[in-house]
Assembly symmetry: C5
Homo-oligomer: 93 residues x 5
């Protein structure tokens, strides 16, 4: 799973009907420097269905691909990423 | 899902017969700078089936992989990306 | 789908028996500069099953992942990329 | 499969219920220089379900995508990466 | 499929039981410069199940994702990459 930081919500009024009811958050991919184990926020962003009630600023686990569907109530929703966990403190320490 | 900007349509006369009837748009991947939260348009482009009636200049949600098929009427169409939502204003603000 | 340029054929005599009969082409990923909308050929290459009769120099749509199989006669062929369309003139203009 | 180095555990109290019981490790993608065959640790990190009892510092094989599920007891767990083997000594030598 | 060069074997004694019997090789992703069509070996490496009897130094076709499973005797093996062909001479010429 990607390690990401939640940076906001995505609002989409005009969308595929199968997306109705999904909470979509905007996440930023996070890396960890090899030299000093420091968290680095990349410029790379994705949108993911929230299945855990995450909030802006949380570090989260994001599952991508077909398996993201297993986190959703309806597995044939057309999303390819889902937030599946909020990481407790300690990343990079 | 990728966050992309629609930059045009893709016209393909000679194509796989299972693609007939699909509207294919050209999209550019968008990132958001970590420092200033500024939208940056990359050089990376993809083609995606449009399922929401998007137009050039729209910021959109693009689902990739097998799950893109759930957005289409015929799930076994040989496309691996689908536009599933138009993002309302506010990205990066 | 990736936008690629066909750069040749791939010849493989010693191969998995399930690949027999597939026409495999070598393709180069293409990007489009954000500033001037100019086509840029990358160094990144892939091999893909040809399902449309493409030729060297064509710009093509390449579907990757499981869904590439829907373009093939035998969906359980062990390829992960298929050329599904030849792009008509106009890309980047 | 990716070649990764295990760098720690991921603790997530608030998570999707289908993740309960999975041991999640933090891994760093490893590359091997073309010139000198030297192992290089990247800044790119992922979280993966551990199916082999790996420990921090181990070089491991990480399967991604749907097939990662085959390594788990419950194949419809919403994870997209699984550690499937610990590499014996000799990588890059 | 990726175009890769085989650089060795991967030995893993402690592994997921479903990997038993698979021959795993280490491969390096290869690119082809756009300007001179010269083969360039990257630092990016992967591990893949060998289904064709490849050897170190061979240029090979590597299928990734779920479809890699179609090349294996047991399609629900937890690997996400398989060598499916050895490329005959001529790449980049």
């Amino acid at each position: 799973m990607y390690i990401c930081k939640v940076i906001g919500k995505v609002v989409s009024t005009q969308k595929n009907e199968k997306l109705t009811g999904s909470s979509i958050v905007l996440v930023r991919v996070v890396s960890l420097t090899a030299k000093k184990n420091e968290i680095t926020e990349s410029n790379e962003i994705f949108a993911a269905a929230d299945t855990v009630g995450c909030g802006t600023g949380n570090y989260v686990l994001v599952t991508s691909g077909t398996n993201a569907g297993y986190a959703l109530k309806n597995t044939n929703t057309p999303v390819d990423m889902a937030v599946v966990g909020i990481i407790d403190s300690g990343l990079g320490e």
